[in-house]
């Protein structure tokens, strides 16, 4: 009798666990993101230590490996530098003219950038799933970072903040399947949407079939929708396919930034508007 009661109690507990697990799928994303980051936050200092230690050893090994090829590389580079110096002198006149134009553009851009405050963040962790692309950084609400802030590296787009804890945050990369970045080609100015494909690359979608696309074409953010600033370098076109009945081209894009090769990123915080209701 008692054994039967125990067995039915255990079955009831298992049933409750299964119902709770399934119900977790229906909780809104804003709440689940907060839960995830809050629960994972205590581990952030440990992740930071392990990350820095492993990067230190990895860089050390790479330096040792590079020593053996350093001498030959030095000779080749010396020749290249000599040729390039000659070219620079030829181009000096064009450079001077472009410099003047750049000064005018920079003055204009300075006024737009007044709204943005950058903060440097270390990458302390990566997504544990094979098909999702996100990273964990060591900045959060304490440093003024909020959901939706854009993350860049050297003026190239990396992703945007998808969840923030007290002192850590999660960044959804542009290579994540759920990431959609309004973009355009640098030369032809044709617009499209860059979507991640979970294999470290992206697809540019909704480019009409009649548009001519060359392979090394550069793609930048268009600024449409106001989520991502415009003119951020996204990547380069590596493959263009056209299915016979399709209205749009399939364009494969390799991101400018290889996330496995960098150790920190820049988070562009948006200044809060004055008199914003809380």
């Amino acid at each position: 009798m008692r054994r039967n009661r125990d067995r039915s109690t255990k079955r009831f507990i298992i049933f409750v666990f299964v119902i709770v697990s399934i119900s977790l799928l229906f909780i809104p994303e804003s709440i689940t993101n907060n839960i995830k980051v809050t629960v994972a936050s205590p581990l952030a200092p440990v992740q930071k230590i392990i990350s820095h230690t492993s990067n230190f050893f990895k860089n050390g090994f790479e330096k040792l490996a590079a020593l053996s090829t350093a001498v030959d590389e030095k000779n080749d580079l010396g020749k290249e530098v000599f040729l390039l110096k000659n070219k620079i002198i030829e181009q000096q006149d064009i450079i001077n003219v472009s410099k003047k134009k750049l000064e005018i553009v920079s003055e204009y851009k300075k006024n737009i950038d007044d709204k943005e405050e950058p903060v440097v963040a270390d990458i302390i962790g990566f997504d544990v799933s094979s098909f999702r692309k996100s990273i964990i950084v060591d900045v959060g609400k304490k440093q003024g970072v909020s959901v939706g802030d854009v993350v860049v590296f050297g003026n190239a787009l990396v992703g945007r903040i998808s969840a923030t804890g007290n002192s850590s945050g999660r960044v959804m990369l542009i290579t994540d399947p759920a990431s959609n970045v309004p973009s355009r080609f640098l030369e032809s100015r044709t617009r499209g949407i860059v979507q991640g494909t979970a294999d470290g690359k992206c697809m540019m979608k909704y480019v009409p079939r009649q548009i001519k696309v060359d392979k090394p074409e550069k793609i930048i953010s268009s600024g449409m929708g106001g989520v991502f600033p415009k003119s951020l370098y996204i990547g380069n076109v590596i493959e263009v396919k056209q299915k016979s009945a399709s209205l749009f081209k399939d364009i494969k894009v390799i991101p400018r930034i290889d996330i496995s090769k960098i150790e920190n990123v820049l988070v562009i915080k948006r200044k809060k508007e004055e008199n914003t209701p809380e």
């Binding site: 977790l24 799928l25 839960i35 992740q47 392990i50 990566f126 494909t197 979970a198 294999d199």
Partner: protein, 167 residues
């Protein structure tokens, strides 16, 4: 006590998976220690304990992953249940069994995850990623021997029954 052990192991796995495993990735593919631990626990524990471990491991993976909260929890419960069903009919101590079960469960889990994810996110590229599923399963199977040994040493050092006896 078993809850504390499961949670401790899961936290360690999370730290290793988020920080260190990317250094041994091949073609962007890295092993999934969560799946390996799930198979280890389900082969060595009774159905109830296996369910608890599956739930905790799945929930932890959800916390450290972008995406729908609860998806990995449900999939890990299913995977753990499958292993606990077949556990009685196979010899779980043999290396070949451990490798083949890990391989099969990895493929099932990854394919299910990909299917559910492509329903939730309308992305053209997700089904083309199906080729990664067998590669991930092969990578998991390759590291089964040292990882299983580490887990069994960990359990025995805490005074739990050794891998020779089921717990």
């Amino acid at each position: 006590m078993p809850w504390i052990t499961i949670i401790s192991v899961t936290v360690c796995i999370s730290l290793i998976q988020t920080t260190l495993l990317r250094h041994i990735s091949f073609l962007g593919i890295q092993p999934d220690l969560f799946i390996i631990f799930l198979v280890f626990h389900s082969l060595n524990a009774n159905r109830e304990r296996s369910f608890h471990a599956s739930w905790v491991v799945g929930l932890t993976k959800d916390i450290f992953s972008e995406g729908p909260f609860g998806l990995n929890t449900v999939l890990f419960i299913i995977a753990g249940y499958i292993v606990s069903i077949i556990r009685g009919n196979i010899y779980g101590r043999h290396l070949a069994t451990q490798i083949s079960v890990t391989f099969i469960i990895s493929i099932i889990y990854n394919l299910l995850y990909l299917c559910l994810l492509s329903m939730l996110i309308t992305s053209a590229g997700l089904f083309s990623m199906a080729w990664e599923c067998p590669l991930i399963a092969i990578y998991n199977s390759i590291i089964v021997l040292p990882v299983f040994w580490l887990f069994s040493r960990f359990y025995s050092s805490f005074g739990f029954p050794s891998s020779r006896r089921k717990f």
